[in-house]
């Protein structure tokens, strides 16, 4: 593939990737975690307040990078924010993942870069989580950038490469403290590749140039000096960027130290994960084959898993022949080590696999180029490429636009049910007939795991109170609307509930919420909105 053709095709691909990610961005109800992040960002947007919490929520880059998106959208308060603005942030960084491939430069051919970009652009899980307002997309973008710049730095350890390395490392760490896994696996991959390739060539050199050993030592020292200063710059940038973000731009310096203290908490969570505990093969089982109940379609990434396998085998087979091929070996080792570490940790959520799956997709691009080279018939190449693009596109459509909240979708995890939007719509309708309008008093009584994403959906109601248990609320009155978990509702007295009409709504599969509407408000609503004849059992 020529440079010019690659440039045109890459721009076209960026357009397709942008469309796929932006189309109906508000389709999927806000996830518990998204709403949580949105609330944190809302505090930063409205009050300029952010303080790193070592117990939860990860690093601050997501919030700070969301600011320009809100400003450009003219949204100045939490209440004004929309799903489109928030998810637009992760869509932007989703595109950055594609652009990061360009940083691989001469270490990947144009064809390899193109096919890797195609697979990343249409990858169902990647598209799904690029439309998801959590840190993971930023983490993948900065993580891949770090992996590539680490390689580039060790190929050419100058100040320019050191700057990129330091920036990517700093942003990666400021996105998630758990990025230490990525930092460790990429350095380990680099060391292993060095042993496998450079080590051998160096030993050959040593045996043939024994007489020049003194000179070599001097050269080594000179090399170390040459590397030391750029490396120091990279480390300085890493620490500086991390400090700036974790200290909330110098407002809370303690935040930087807290980010290291957070390791113990995350370590504990990783090995005592509660209901997030999944088996070793969890990630690959999601990618391999998944089918929901009834007439659910098949969700599978088998073609890309096979191509990634080709890419990995090819990378190892061609190790040490050329520097460019060693990059793929390094990437293969990084992806394998990272997959191994994440699979060994009992705590698992589907989005955690993105960092190594993105690595495997780049290798799948290289594998596919090799397969195309093996095929001599032009038409067969076109059919194969078309079939792959069709499969990726079809799967991306099913995952993101049709089964976006369906439990049979392998990437749907503790997702808010679409039915929950009916509860939100009913509350909105009630506010339109309530005397106080949006100022009506709403009580939410539910444990935290059953409260979110309500604070997002009720952000335009100023009179909302949240209680985590029924014991904290002596009387439901004077609330005209109460949203209560099924368990907490059971604790209220029958007499008290007589003054409310109740409806069930699904928060998540098997988690039902109860909407209590005070009788007078319901009557008002019924008269103004419903009307019509009453049935045999009419109200």
């Amino acid at each position: 593939m020529k440079k010019k053709s690659f440039a045109y095709l890459f721009v076209l691909l960026l357009g397709v990737a942008l469309f796929v990610r932006l189309y109906r961005l508000d389709l999927r109800p806000m996830h518990h975690d998204e709403a949580n992040q949105a609330y944190k960002f809302g505090q930063l947007l409205e009050k300029g307040q952010y303080r790193y919490d070592p117990a939860d929520h990860h690093g601050p880059t997501l919030y700070y990078f969301s600011l320009p998106f809100a400003w450009l959208s003219g949204q100045k308060t939490y209440a004004e924010l929309t799903e489109g603005t928030l998810r637009g942030v992760t869509v932007f960084f989703g595109l950055l993942i594609l652009l990061v491939i360009l940083a691989a430069g001469r270490y990947l051919t144009f064809s390899e870069k193109f096919w890797a970009a195609v697979f990343l652009a249409l990858s169902p899980p990647l598209v799904y989580f690029n439309r998801f307002y959590i840190q993971e997309t930023l983490f993948v973008a900065f993580g891949l950038a770090f992996v590539i710049f680490l390689w580039r730095f060790f190929q050419k350890p100058d100040y320019k490469e050191a700057t990129w390395l330091g920036i990517s490392a700093g942003l990666l760490y400021a996105t998630k403290e758990t990025s230490l896994i990525v930092l460790a696996t990429s350095i380990l991959a680099l060391v292993v590749v060095w042993f496998l390739s450079w080590g051998r060539s160096n030993s050959r050199k040593r045996s043939s140039h024994k007489s020049e050993s003194k000179g070599s030592r001097k050269e080594v020292l000179a090399e170390i000096k040459k590397v030391a200063l750029p490396l120091a710059l990279a480390i300085f940038l890493f620490l500086a960027i991390s400090f700036v973000f974790y200290s909330s731009f110098f407002q809370h310096p303690q935040g930087f130290l807290d980010s290291f203290r957070a390791f113990s908490g995350y370590g504990q969570k990783a090995f005592d994960p509660g209901w997030h505990r999944h088996g070793f093969w969890y990630y690959f089982s999601l990618l391999f084959y998944h089918k929901g109940r009834g007439h659910s379609p098949v969700f599978s990434e088998i073609p890309f898993l096979l191509l990634a396998l080709v890419g990995v085998v090819l990378s190892f087979a061609r190790m040490s022949r050329k520097s460019a091929e060693n990059f793929k070996g390094y990437l293969a080792l990084f992806s394998l080590f990272t997959a191994l570490v994440y699979s060994a940790i009992p705590y698992k959520t589907p989005w955690n696999m993105l960092i190594f799956w993105a690595g495997f997709l780049i290798l799948a691009g290289a594998g596919f180029v090799y397969v195309l080279e093996l095929i001599k018939i032009r038409q067969a190449k076109i059919i194969l490429a078309g079939a792959l693009i069709f499969w990726a596109g079809w799967q991306a459509y099913l995952v993101n636009f049709y089964f976006h909240a369906y439990p049979g979708n392998p990437y749907v995890y503790a997702q808010t049910s679409p039915d929950f939007l009916r509860l939100v719509a009913r509350v909105d309708e009630l506010s339109q007939v309530a005397e106080e309008g949006k100022n009506m008093f709403i009580r939410v009584i539910a444990p935290p795991e059953e409260t979110w994403p309500l604070p997002w959906y009720l952000r335009k109601y100023p009179q909302v109170g949240y209680w985590t248990s029924s014991e904290q609320v002596e009387s439901l009155e004077p609330a005209v609307v109460v949203i209560i978990s099924a368990a907490e509702a059971a604790r209220r007295s029958e007499k008290e509930l007589e003054s409310y009409i109740t409806h069930y709504y699904s928060l998540r599969p098997d988690v039902l919420m109860v909407l209590l509407i005070r009788q007078d408000l319901w009557e008002n609503y019924r008269l103004k909105r419903i009307g019509g004849p009453s049935g045999t059992n009419g109200l």
């Binding site: 039915d419 409310y500 109740t502 599969p509 049935g535």
Partner: protein
């Protein structure tokens, strides 16, 4: 004389009251003698846990305990088994309409029929008029779900234009257009929902629903109609 009349009146009043009391008790005892407990064969419970004890005026309590006995006149029998079923969605998304009356109540895949989204009905033709005593409905019981706008009607008219009797209606906001109901929403369980037929004479039973809390589709595992033949 006056005192004697007064005593006589009091004795007569007391006697009348005792006679009335005995007659009433006799009547109740006679009624109970005629009634027998309705025995319903229940499927294996699939869902354990989430349904919680909700006590609200229009929310069915779910206690996790078996449903109490329901009494029907002696001679009441299951009259819906294998009877023909029609629907507003003649081409179900999953399963077949015959599943509604095939006697299989398992909550597993392959035992339920799925109808399209929005208000949909299934109708059972009992092939003859009966005095309906009870209707038991299992929509879907392998997950904590609430089916919306459940309306159960019976009639002798297959088109449900004339002589329609609504036995159950929890469509509180009249979204199905059959009139607003005041019955309670309920969580699906393996016990099914039992509706009192009140001895209504009818040949056809029509059951409406309008999606559920898990999705927009309408499901039926089984419907049983218990009735007495019309003499």
């Amino acid at each position: 004389m006056r005192t004697r009349t007064k005593i006589l009146t009091q004795v007569l009043l007391l006697g009348s009251f005792l006679l009335f009391l005995l007659a009433s008790m006799g009547s109740i005892l006679a009624q109970n003698q005629e009634k027998v407990e309705l025995k319903i064969q229940l499927p294996k419970p699939m869902f354990i846990g989430t349904p919680r004890n909700i006590k609200t005026p229009n929310l069915e309590p779910v206690t996790g305990k078996p449903r109490g006995p329901f009494y029907v006149p002696k001679g009441t029998e299951l009259v819906s088994l294998k009877k023909p079923v029609t629907s507003s969605d003649p081409l179900p998304v999953i399963g077949e309409l015959s599943y509604v009356t095939d006697g299989e109540k398992s909550g597993e895949d392959g035992y339920f029929v799925e109808l399209g989204p929005g208000p949909q009905w299934v109708q059972i033709d009992l092939k003859a008029p009966y005095l309906i005593q009870a209707i038991v409905v299992w929509h879907y019981h392998s997950q904590a779900r609430v089916y919306r706008d459940v309306v159960i009607q019976v009639s002798e008219d297959k088109d449900f234009v004339n002589g329609v009797v609504t036995l159950f209606n929890n469509d509180h906001d009249n979204s199905s257009g059959l009139g607003a109901g005041r019955d309670k929403e309920y969580i699906e369980t393996y016990e099914g929902k039992l509706i009192d037929g009140k001895g209504t004479k009818a040949r056809y039973v029509r059951l409406w629903s309008n999606g559920n809390t898990a999705n927009d589709m309408n499901h039926y595992v089984e419907v049983e109609v218990y009735a007495l033949p019309v003499k």
